[in-house]
Amino acid sequence: MVDQLPNAGREHEMLEAMGMSSMDDLFSNIPVGIRRAEPLPLPDPQSEEEIWADAQRILGSNVSLDDRPSFLSAGLSRNFVPSVVGMLATRGEFLTSYTPYQPEVSQGMLQAMWEFQTMICELVDLPISNVSMYDASTAAAEAITCAVRVNNRKALQKDIVYISSLVPPHRMSVIRNYTIGAGIEIRTIEHDDSGNLLLSSAESATGSCAVYVEQPNSLGIVDIGLTELKSIIGDETSLIVGIDAVSLGVLEPPGKWGADMVVGEGQPFGIGPTFGGPIYGIFACSEKYLRQMPGRVVGQSWDTEGSLAFTLTLSTREQHIRRHRATSNICSNETLIALMGAIHMSLLGPEGLERLALRVAASTEATKRSISRINSVELVNPESSNFREFAIRVPGSASDALLHLDSNGVIGGLDLGMWWEGMSDCILVGVDERTSEDDIAALHDGLRGWIEEVCG
């Protein structure tokens, strides 16, 4: 490890300059009673060469999504990230910087984030975006607490928010953790048999602080009914929409149909699924929520010589200034990943985004068609329009089917029984822009093979 310590071997010289004689002198303030006596029971130090070899061997034992036909999506995308993204974002000046507290030497990151904000605003059609949340789930959770802070005073249903029953349990769990301290009560809005939100039941949300829905929802259903939601719940109740960012290449942005806040996973732009992190959460809102929103925001300004300049702004909402009255505790966020997202988005351009969305839509449609042709497999929501995901019901246990597919080298999707008990015979099939005809055939054949085995 000496290659990481420029002063290795020079300890004595430096200690001497201070009139000390041993490294122990430096720690003499630590009371003896709590000193660690024995060395750490950890392995020997390794050189870069050895760590690299271990990393290749250990991580090489994982199965990657790219190794085989894969239909596991469920909120993370098996995307393709252009090579320039990583190469530019890991330039040392970006990679090894931190929060741009000193704008005079941080214009690069600040401008990039201001451009990021702009691209997110354009994507979702809302006027304000921050520079990232931890992920989609914390973005949703903090949007909800933000809505309560803003709307609670006038709300008829105080401290109450309504959430679609199709928000999956792991995301709901995050939301619960984030809302519990604020004393928020969560009520559920149900969906009909085709997976569309029951607008009639949504009416009960009027007068509450917020409604949170997802478009497409977790079963991949594009729910056109959601566009009427805002007119149902009214101005004093915030409409928060969780999005699939790529879908906005073909779907009308929620800002156009009344969303007050839009949240979602930024991951498809900028970074691989990377085992679920680091990724970044998108957070955009309308002006009303500006001063109660979480996270960092970059604004444009000028320097003393009148040159255009950028700086962090609205910091008075943040923990380092407002401490326990801050709008959020978020400090370190996901800016570097958002930067990757910005580079990816600017490479795509408008038509690139559209094509990307069309590719996903095409994969969805083609896979759906192929799978629904299998006897005794049925679509859970046969009437729905889908984007990226759709649910199927199989004649037996989903986990058995997936195990069978796995042994045939196909990652078949998600056992929906993991999310909802009643759905243990359902699989969430997820596609992406890279899904090929061959992949679909492999899934089709694998499922058919399993059914033949099971149903004899």
């Binding site: 310590l5 430096l26 630590i30 009371p31 060395p39 130090p45 760590i51 690299w52 990393a55 991580l59 034992s61 994982n62 999504l65 993370l76 530019l88 970006f94 090894t96 910087s97 931190y98 741009p100 030497v105 214009q107 201001w114 451009e115 904000q117 605003c121 354009e122 975006s129 992920d135 914390t138 792991h170 594009v222 779907l251 156009k256 699924p273 992190g277 680091p278 925001v297 444009q300 300004s301 320097d303 003393t304 950028f310 700086t311 962090l312 200034i321 801050a326 370190s332 990943i337 490479l347 351009g349 408008p350 038509e351 690139g352 985004l353 590719r359 449609e365 329009s385 984007f387 005809e437």
Partner: protein
């Protein structure tokens, strides 16, 4: 674009023809077929106003931006409390391996043996270094670690029927995330003032604790860089009152292998992998804020955690170390999830690669961090006679002490009193000398505070140079300092204008004011 010196590259000025942008393969169905699958009423009418740029334009734009940004690679980054150490490049190479980059957290365990084994190794290593019993890697930043741990403590009290405990104690020198995190859990914050000298005031603590104390949050060494020598007594006081002790691990870099929060009497701790374990977090993140807890809090941790058992003959091969790794559900009492997946796995893998370099000699890292900090403080405060004579006035120590840990504070209050030069002015002037400024005005208990953390990855030469440059600043004409920076790409930025006018996005068309 204004050339001949200042020239602004504006991504929205790239306006290629419609249809340019990244080349992609065609959709696997005819476009007209695809369009039919999208409900009419909700199909997008006009595309977002993103740039239409080619790869060469993008590369040049972001290269240009990067050249207007300061990182550790650019120069010394003594941002106190943030442990801005060198980020080893091997780690960036490792996370490009498909075995981490192209992995989905919902894949079956048989696909994830490598990652699970790294998670397990990291849980064990962090537990060992901190003297805790269980570790979760799920929180994705220090603040989220705090939040998670406080949620666990909250559930713990609840499970003991002590829901009445609704207060969390924090010293006034605490980082802002401490009170913010506790507050997000619904707690009231009791701030206790520091004692003379900046350390914890045990009397104030005694006065603050009570039946309603849920927890105390504190970092050690403190944000002044001081080791809280009475920490065990503090822990006793809080525990006696029925509260829990929470350790803010942002300053963990100072003590690894020397002592640990477990020995100090803490019940829960977070680690900042992006500080102590070098995960790069350009522009403000990503972080990674695992937490460790003592036995009694384990069952409240977020779920699941990595576990292992001796491999049975029927188990697949795995990583070849004789174990089978799996996700263990934390169970009924778990607080559930704080991030949807398993936290910032990429950061965990980098931190793993970082720790493997030191292995059982991790304490060398802390030794060098503390060595560099004391050395820098020493040479700043003890200039040679000639230099000393040239200086308008020396800064005051943030704390009267012989020894600091990995960081220290200086107060520019004497200077301000003498000639009006503030801490901020000095910070800005240091930018001219090619440094990132130290942390400014934190902790708030030190007036005109500069908080300096050199980390173990700076050479003696850099420290010597910094001290000498700081001495120069202290001897410069006040006007030069108050009007700094002079040599940066933009001069002092008007933050008030930004806050008043809130131009938070590109207006479209040309750049403003050009």
């Amino acid at each position: 674009m204004d050339r001949g010196g200042v020239w602004l590259s504006d991504i929205f000025s790239f306006r290629g023809a419609p249809g340019t942008g990244w080349s992609q393969p065609s959709p696997i169905l005819e476009e007209s077929e695809v369009r039919k699958s999208i409900p009419d009423g909700i199909s997008r009418k006009s595309l977002p106003g993103w740039p239409r740029a080619s790869e060469p334009e993008i590369v040049r734009h972001y290269t240009w931006l990067s050249n207007r940004n300061f990182g550790i690679d650019t120069g010394f980054y003594p941002l106190g409390s943030c442990t801005m150490k060198h980020n080893p490049r091997l780690n960036e190479r490792i996370v490009q391996l498909p075995g981490i980059d192209r992995i989905h957290p919902l894949q079956p365990e048989s696909h994830l043996q490598g990652l699970l084994s790294i998670f397990f190794e990291m849980q064990e290593m962090l537990a060992e270094c901190s003297g805790m019993d269980s570790v979760t890697l799920q929180p994705v930043a220090g603040a989220q670690g705090e939040f998670t741990a406080i949620r666990c403590i909250q559930e713990y009290h609840k499970s003991n029927g002590e829901e009445n405990r609704d207060k969390v104690i924090v010293p006034d020198s605490a980082h802002g995330t401490n009170p913010a995190s506790a507050s997000m859990c619904g707690y009231d914050i009791v701030e206790i003032p520091s004692a003379e000298g900046g350390c914890l005031d045990l009397d104030a603590l005694r006065a603050a604790v009570g039946d309603d104390t849920a927890a105390m949050m504190i970092t050690n060494p403190s944000t002044l860089g001081l080791f809280e020598v009475e920490i065990t007594e503090a822990a006793r006081i809080v525990h006696e009152a029925g509260g829990q002790m929470y350790y803010d691990g942002a300053n963990f870099n100072a003590i690894i292998g020397k002592t640990d929060p477990g020995r100090m009497g803490f019940d829960a701790v977070h680690y900042n992998l992006h500080k102590t374990f070098s995960q790069p977090h350009g522009g403000g993140g990503p972080g990674s804020g695992p937490i460790g807890v003592r036995e009694h809090l384990s069952r409240f941790l977020p779920t699941p955690v990595a576990a292992r058992k001796v491999r049975e003959p029927e188990d697949p091969e795995g990583v070849g170390d004789g174990f089978w790794y799996f996700w263990e559900d934390v169970g009924q009492s778990s607080i559930g999830k704080v991030q949807q997946w398993h936290g910032n796995a990429g950061a965990v893998v980098r931190a793993w690669a970082f720790y493997r370099r030191y292995g059982r000699e991790l304490e060398l890292m802390s030794e060098h961090a503390v060595l560099n900090s004391n050395y820098l403080r020493h040479i700043i405060m003890n200039p040679d006679k000639e230099t000393a004579e040239g200086i308008h006035c020396m800064p005051a120590e943030g704390a009267e002490t012989e020894l600091v840990m990995h960081e220290f504070t200086l107060s520019m209050a004497p200077l301000k009193e003498l000639n009006g030069v503030t801490g901020k002015d000095v910070a800005k002037r240091l930018l001219d000398y090619g440094y990132m400024s130290p942390t400014l005005y934190f902790p708030q208990i030190v007036p005109e505070c500069l908080m300096i953390e050199p980390t173990e990855t700076e050479s003696k030469e850099v420290l010597d140079q910094f001290a000498s440059d700081l001495h120069s600043v202290l001897s410069e004409d006040p006007e030069t300092v108050t009007s700094a920076p002079h040599t940066t790409i933009v001069k002092r930025v008007d933050e008030v204008w930004a806050a008043r006018n809130l131009v938070l996005r590109h207006p479209g068309g040309d750049f403003p004011g050009q």
